[in-house]
């Protein structure tokens, strides 16, 4: 057996689907010290093992399920799994995180990382039970909704104490926005579900009995107690618990941070009313996404009656419900809750789905698609009845849904006639429910985030500018957010560089990002990690690992042909809003995006003409090979 690395399981499970073989591999200690885990370690593996230019839906692609060293039921936020792959949606770096028990349970089974290769000849699912690895027939699971798949697998494995991640019907149909689901929660972005589907891998079930002992248990317990106290005393943690992510709907609308009607505006004035309706009619209770989460921001929601009647389910997040209200100009919250639920059941990304439907509505309004193209469907703005219909059509690739299933960038190319101007994306990933006209750091984060216009890595830009969160990063060069204006542009490029390097760390360490919002700092994570592994790490060391990870993901994209031209953001995300409370507010317009981008490249040590990391920077980060 491999030698144990302190603080890790020290093993990765490599699955070869074509011949149904597996290998248990020892992990190199120095690689772990350089990349730690999660999206860092996965970047190293995918950069080294994938060939340039592969088809993301071919057997050549690999998909990694990665924990981090802090993935654990004991660590606040440690119920986390990162899924990394080359994205079929963007053909760039792809990653998606999911909260839940799967990560901690995979680690208990003995594996820090699970690397899936090749393609099975028939539909299969994996059952991982410590050292027992089984390839099971999954043909009977095809065509089933996510909750039904999960129920059937639990029944046939005769065990309720297993964690299951599976794809939905959309993943089976290689829909480019397909998710990988853990019960009602999604590893949502970039199309990981389609990659699994392309491999004929329908689900993974995991169960484990192992345990990791910290190198220095006393120090570990002290560090753990310290961060638990941070969470316990955090007003933000209390806010997440009481209101969930939905708690920001009214505030974001008021702040001009709520992209509305396919980003025609950044404010609608309906956020308060919709949030109130949701609270009175849809919200049932909060929920932990993994056993023991001290924040429990998850929501249980339903629609009790009417044409959008929906059972109690885990979901109803801010992003999902914004995508099915503001994005598409829909005032019916019941329809939004129902559509979000259907996305989870069919296994498609709620954010991309809402963005794609908004794009289609604007194409329809402008005569680029007609009722002939939609088989008689009325794609008018705000048509609540249409939303669940299009979710199903996209998931099943039926009719107009087949064109929309591959995202706005590809759909715009197919539709032609200038449809590109209505496609709101960066690098091919549809925009989320935060607007760069609410604060300029968000513009730079959208343009430069390695997976595209996502809602996770750029979120710190909005939190910094509008929320005035400093994340304990002032000692590392981030200006005090209370001394800057959210609409200032000068300085934001440099600030974003530091924020990105620090705020990628939860995805490297294998914890939920919301705990940094609750106040846990890099130094506190470093202290915990040091006691776990016996390594002597400080916050600045984590920041350097974050920088290395961001650069390696950038190199992955550079190798695929991405450069400065792909760091642009949609005109809509910069221009004067067409309506709403900010339409006369000049300060919200992004005036010098190129200047901010240049400042960002300089801070990164990248070529300012091409956006490609320069050799000296790569040498400095140990990425010169």
């Amino acid at each position: 057996m491999p030698e144990r690395i302190e603080g890790y399981m020290g093993k990765q499970l490599r699955i070869s689907l074509d011949n149904k073989k597996y290998k248990i591999e020892k992990i190199d200690t120095q690689t772990l010290k350089d990349y730690l885990g999660g999206v860092g370690y996965s970047a190293k593996i995918l950069y080294e093992e994938l060939e340039k230019g592969i088809d993301p839906l071919s057997p050549d692609n690999k998909i990694i399920f990665a924990t981090g060293p802090l993935t654990s039921y004991r660590v606040p936020g440690g119920g986390s799994i990162e899924i990394c792959f080359k994205s079929p949606l963007t053909k760039a770096w792809g990653e998606a995180r999911c909260g839940g028990n799967f990560g901690p349970d995979m680690k208990k089974a003995g594996y820090d990382f699970l690397i899936i290769e090749d393609k099975a000849t028939e539909p299969v699912y994996l059952f991982i039970d410590d050292n027992r690895i089984e390839f099971k027939d999954a043909s009977h699971l095809l065509g089933k909704m996510v909750s039904e798949k999960t129920r059937m697998m639990r029944e046939e494995l005769n065990n309720n104490d297993i964690s299951i991640m599976c794809i939905g019907i959309a993943g089976e149909n290689l829909v480019n926005i397909a998710t990988v689901m853990f019960e009602g929660r999604a590893a949502g972005r970039c199309g990981g579900g389609a990659v699994m589907g392309s491999k004929n891998l329908i689900a993974i079930a995991v169960k484990g009995s192992g345990k990791i002992e910290p190198k220095n248990p006393d120090d570990y317990n002290i560090a753990l107690k310290e961060i638990r106290n941070v969470v316990k005393n955090s007003e933000i943690a209390k806010g997440f618990r009481e209101f969930g992510t939905m708690g920001d709907m009214a505030g974001n609308d008021a702040a001009g941070d709520w992209p509305t009607k396919n980003w025609q505006a950044n404010n609608w004035g309906k956020g308060e009313e919709l949030f109130d309706y949701y609270n009175r009619h849809n919200f049932i209770n909060n929920k932990m996404c993994y056993k023991g989460c001290p924040i429990a921001c998850g929501r249980i929601a339903s629609v009790k009656e009417g044409k959008f009647k929906t059972p109690q389910h885990d979901g109803a997040e801010y992003e999902s419900l914004s995508a099915f209200t503001a994005f598409v100009f829909n005032e019916d919250m019941d329809a939004a809750v129902h559509s979000s639920y259907l996305c989870d059941e069919y296994g498609i990304d709620t954010i991309s789905a809402g963005g794609i439907i908004a794009f289609a509505m604007e194409c329809y309004e402008n005569g680029l698609i007609s009722k002939k193209d939609t088989e008689g469907l009325d794609l008018s703005w705000g048509n609540a009845d249409l939303l669940p219909i299009l979710v199903k059509k996209i998931s099943k690739r039926e009719g107009i849904g087949d064109i929309l299933a591959d995202g706005v960038l590809k759909a715009a190319k197919k539709i032609g006639k200038g449809a590109e101007k209505f496609a709101i994306h960066c690098k091919g990933l549809e925009g989320p429910a935060h607007d760069s006209r609410s604060g300029k750091a968000l513009a730079v984060t959208y343009g430069t985030a390695n997976r595209g216009m996502c809602h996770i890595h750029p979120l710190e830009g909005m939190a910094y500018d509008s929320g005035k969160f400093d994340f304990g990063m002032i000692p590392y060069g981030v200006p005090d957010p209370n001394k800057i204006d959210r609409w200032d542009e000068k300085g934001k490029g440099k600030t974003v560089k530091i924020l990105q390097d620090g705020l990628i760390m939860p995805d490297v360490l294998g914890v939920c990002k919301f705990f940094m919002y609750a106040g846990i700092t890099l130094d506190q994570y470093a202290k915990l990690l040091s006691s776990l592994t016996g390594w002597n790490l400080k916050g600045k060391d984590l920041l350097r690992i974050g920088e290395r990870t961001n650069n390696l993901q950038r190199l992955f994209n550079t190798r695929e042909g991405f450069s400065k031209k792909d760091d642009s953001i949609p005109d809509r995300a910069k221009q004067r809003p067409l309506f709403g409370a900010y339409k006369d507010e000049d300060r919200c317009i992004v005036k010098d995006y190129e200047g901010m981008l240049k400042e960002y490249y300089e801070a990164r040590g990248w070529n300012t003409e091409t956006g490609i990391p320069i050799k000296e920077k790569l040498l400095e980060l140990g990425l010169d090979e």
Binding site: I236, A250, G251, A254, G269, C297, A463, A581
Partner: protein, 78 residues
């Protein structure tokens, strides 16, 4: 002067004992939004957004009799 003020989510607790029935509060003439925020003991170091009569306003805005103020903060989930 009398104005109306409504606080949202994590800011609601700052209304306790300060904001009267029907969301009213009595302030000195020419109080700014920053003055209102301080009178409610909202910390200076958290990001807040003001709407006055449903229009966004900066903290230097001088309130007038009958204004309706909404104050939002951010939990920052996405």
């Amino acid at each position: 002067m009398k104005i109306k003020v409504k606080l949202y989510t994590i800011l609601k607790k700052y209304a306790k004992g300060k904001v009267l029935e029907e969301n009213t509060i009595i302030l000195h003439k020419d109080t700014t939004l920053q003055g209102l925020s301080r009178s409610l003991n909202i910390p200076d170091n958290i990001g807040i957004i003001f709407l006055v009569n449903d229009s966004p306003q900066g903290k230097e805005y001088r309130l007038r009799e009958g204004d309706e103020v909404k104050i939002f903060s951010f939990i920052c989930g996405g």
